[in-house]
Symmetry: C2
Subunit: 196 residues, 2 copies
């Protein structure tokens, strides 16, 4: 499976393409950032970043896009721009019929380093090691994008199993309710009752 | 000038097209909402709303798009979806070379009703009156979109004048600094000094 990881941002949008192998094997296909000038208007910045992300999708043909889920705990202005970029990226994926998954920063850290509280340096060091890179990917946004892609590779099978288990549990619950209703109707028919 | 006002949202995205006339005259061209099912995945919801907004752009050919500026004072989950929709709408406008303007809710309220703290009902009543509509536009998101479009019509000339004034002030400041520098260099040359 080939994953495009995206760390959304207006000034620097991290992009990382990773191929999954057997087990926990993962290979780096491409890594970089899409940029837009801070002095430009918001709409043209979204266009610049959006166009570059679409170019990456065309060039590297990912099968799924993993985007960092944005939280508003940071600077409000920055977060809004980040959320807008994440919307633009999700839309570009949906237009190409590519599935989109969102992972939180702590899910990414936990998947990569075993701890949801690992710092940026630890995550970058693990990404470099996992992908067998000669040097740490730079800037940090690019490393984060690779971390997201790896996180998705490793979490996706688990998420699929969870979704299947939930679907089966929901079906069992439905069957159970249907049987219960039948039993109640049968009991009412037997006693000749007309309770509502 | 024809303005498309957009009150961004995933469940209901308000859309209102208004034509400006002389002075404060304004006419309603179209009003409605783009919707997406809450149970769908985020990416396909963005696609549904984005496609409908683009259909409106094609159909009504606005010359400018006015979008409500999102603040994160509300529910975090809702705000993220709203910001993502606003990004998608701004991108669609940029792809069509349409200028995009953002106005805050209080700017809209102040423009329409004279008070930044007017409630929704007051704004809707004013929009109905300004546009000479037989009935108040529904739902509230649709009325908000019309209010945004009217706000832009009325604010745009003022914003243009402000931008021109700021540009002139910046030019004057640049000229002043250049003359100051020349005078300092001339003074240094006279005294034969070599101060850094």
């Amino acid at each position: 499976m080939r994953v495009l990881g995206v760390d959304p941002g207006l000034t620097r949008c991290g992009l990382g393409v990773v191929d999954g192998g057997r087990g926990r094997e993962a290979g780096c296909v491409a890594v970089g950032v899409a940029r837009s000038p801070a002095e430009d208007e918001l709409a043209s910045r979204l266009l610049a970043v959006g166009d570059e992300v679409e170019r990456w999708m065309d060039l590297h043909q990912p099968q799924v896009v993993a985007i960092e889920r944005v939280f508003s705990q940071h600077n409000v202005r920055t977060v809004m721009g980040t959320a807008q970029v994440s919307g633009v990226v999700a839309l570009a994926a949906a237009r190409r019929d590519l599935p989109v998954a969102f992972h939180t920063p702590s899910e990414v850290k936990a998947a990569i380093s075993g701890s949801g509280r690992a710092d940026k340096q630890q995550v970058t060091a693990m990404v470099t090691k996992i992908l067998g890179l000669d040097a740490a990917p730079k800037p940090a946004d690019a490393a984060d994008a690779l971390a997201l892609a790896i996180c998705h590779l490793w979490r996706a099978p688990m998420m699929d199993r969870l979704a299947q288990a939930e679907a089966r549990a929901a079906e069992l619950a439905r069957n159970h309710r249907a049987r219960l209703k039948q039993a109640q109707q049968a009991a009412r028919a037997k006693t000749g009752g007309t309770k509502k």
